[in-house]
């Protein structure tokens, strides 16, 4: 918001600016002007994947002669729902790729654009968390869709409290958006070569880390950490990574020219 002090009186018809909240909201609305790909399509695909899985569970249960003949945990190691997090990463990259030049063309600053975009990502994360959590509640209320299945809260989350499931979902969404925003900023700033370099460097860093863990004989410690730390605590470790990625995105974007 523009604040004029007494020593700097407001000019009668000088430059003014809409409050930052107004500008952020405009960017948010630019992102959701056409909600099909980001708000609607993901649910349809999710339900299709779920439907496919449920059909298979049903077939197995039927041929086994009923739920009693199937192991309790048979339908609980399902990674089907992870697709939505990968998709959100792609949504983040796509959204920024398409709207950055458009919004700047409409006289939005990079700072306002990025703030509005992060607001959009947080809104999306909350939207999907609420939806997925509702489905988890339904899943539990129906005893795993009457088949003992666990699609929306699989693996370590099957018996976790609903709040933990929601927290995990929200944090994972934010991570996907954070990494997506950073990748998109690299793309906007340097194009494809930037992404090649980024993934090249990340691969090298990853290999060095694996080597390091091997040489230092740290693997037992790593496994112990992973197996003794709760899912919720592990998820919390992603928050600083997310914050760092989001910050990196801004640092890159604030000096990005609009290329035609």
């Amino acid at each position: 918001m523009t604040v004029y002090t007494e020593t700097q009186p407001a000019p009668a018809s000088g430059p003014t600016a809409a409050p930052v909240v107004h500008r952020m909201r405009a960017v948010l609305r630019i992102h959701i002007a056409n909600p099909w790909q980001t708000l609607i399509l993901p649910w349809i695909i999710t339900l299709l994947i779920f439907g496919g899985n449920a059909a298979i569970w049903g077939m197995i249960t039927y041929s086994a002669g009923g739920s009693d003949n199937v192991e309790t945990s048979a339908f609980q190691s399902n990674g089907g729902i992870t697709w939505i997090y990968v998709y959100m990463l792609i949504v983040a990259v796509q959204a920024m790729h398409f709207t950055f030049r458009f919004a700047l063309g409409f006289s939005v600053t990079r700072r306002d654009y990025y703030a509005g975009t992060l607001l959009y990502f947080i809104t999306l994360a909350a939207y999907y968390t609420v939806g997925l959590t509702a489905l988890v509640l339904l899943e539990r209320a129906t005893d795993g869709w009457w088949l003992g299945g666990s699609f929306f809260a699989p693996l370590g989350l099957t018996t976790a409290p609903v709040a933990s499931v929601a927290y995990t979902s929200f944090a994972a969404m934010l991570l996907a958006f954070g990494v997506g925003a950073a990748s998109a900023a690299v793309w906007v700033r340097w194009g494809a070569p930037g992404l090649y370099w980024m993934f090249g460097i990340l691969t090298v860093v990853g290999i060095v880390a694996l080597w390091g863990a091997t040489v230092l004989e740290a693997w037992p410690t790593v496994w112990e950490f992973l197996s003794t730390t709760s899912v919720v605590a592990l998820v919390s470790w992603t928050l600083p990574v997310t914050a760092l990625a989001a910050l990196a995105g801004y640092v890159l974007l604030r000096r990005s020219p609009v290329r035609s």
């Binding site: 430059p15 809409a18 056409n34 006289s107 609009v258």
Partner: protein, 295 residues
């Protein structure tokens, strides 16, 4: 007084390419001004610099006294409409107009609706499926209905047919009369738009080569036609922009023609012809200096 638009030693280099090179000017007047030049002369880069979409290599751009870079106060009242605008995936015309209404503080929805009808702009089709002209019509509507205090138009009507272009000029002029603002417009169709312009800036090879009042500019060039010897005698000592010869007849275009030259030419029985803004700019920015036509 603070200039509405100002550049001082403004440069943007891409490696060895000097897209904009040491450009200085200031626009103080509310009015419609032309930014002209050949393809690749640096018009779009200059407009990007003036709106903070690109970063200057050297020098500075100012909008109402402030840097446009990351400055919502400076660019909040600026609209840059360009032919090369990229539209988000899944956007239809109506999304573009809605987005414009959220962003531009003086957006006029009724005016936009009237323009949609005038231009027959398709609002329910995806932007990427539209023809160049149809996309331009959406851009033209945004340019007019946004009523931004500073409106920069970069080839706003590429692909529009003559009827739609005339419509654009008419609407621009009539709306400008009611809501005066500063418009800087780049175009290839110089003569068509020439009557709109109050000031003309011409950029060539990244450098500002002309910055003059449009009327004064039109008066500066003169085409003198007559027998070669008589024409040559009259124009001696003047700056020749262009020379054509056909048999014994010569047509020489003079820059900076004054009353004395006119009088001398009339006295010598030579024919004087006005030079259009387009011819003048073509002559000044690129056409070969002489063009001999075989006799």
């Amino acid at each position: 007084m603070t200039a509405i638009l100002e550049a001082q030693g403004l440069s943007r280099h891409f490696g060895p390419v000097k897209a904009v090179d040491d450009v200085s000017f200031r626009i103080d007047e509310v009015g419609i001004h032309g930014l002209l030049g050949r393809n690749g002369a640096g018009k779009s880069t200059l407009m990007n610099l003036l709106t903070g979409q690109d970063f200057a290599t050297a020098g500075s751009a100012r909008v109402r006294g402030e840097s446009p870079v990351e400055n919502p106060r400076a660019i909040g009242e600026v609209a840059l409409i360009k032919e090369s605008q990229v539209y988000p995936e899944g956007y239809k015309g109506r999304h573009v107009l809605k987005a414009a209404s959220w962003i531009f503080p003086h957006w006029d929805d009724d005016f936009a609706s009237r323009l949609v009808e005038d231009f027959h702009a398709p609002l329910d089709r995806y932007m990427k499926k539209l023809s160049r002209g149809q996309r331009s019509s959406i851009g033209a509507i945004v340019a007019l209905a946004s009523r931004a205090e500073v409106t920069l138009l970069d080839e706003p009507y590429a692909g529009l047919d003559a009827v739609a272009r005339q419509l654009f000029y008419d609407r621009l002029l009539s709306d400008f009369a009611e809501h005066p603002r500063t418009v800087l417009m780049s175009t290839h169709l110089i003569d068509e738009a020439a009557d709109l312009f109050q000031r003309v800036l011409v950029i060539d090879d990244g450098r500002l080569v002309i910055d003059e009042d449009a009327d004064a500019l039109r008066g500066t060039a003169l085409r003198i036609v007559g027998p070669v010897d008589a024409v040559e005698a009259v124009v001696r000592g003047h700056q020749i922009l262009h020379r054509e010869a056909l048999g014994g007849t010569a047509a020489i275009t003079i820059d900076g023609a004054n009353g004395e030259l006119r009088a001398a030419a009339v006295a010598a029985g030579l024919e004087l012809a006005p030079v259009s803004l387009q011819q003048l700019i073509v002559r000044r920015t690129g056409a070969p200096f002489t063009q001999e036509v075989a006799s």
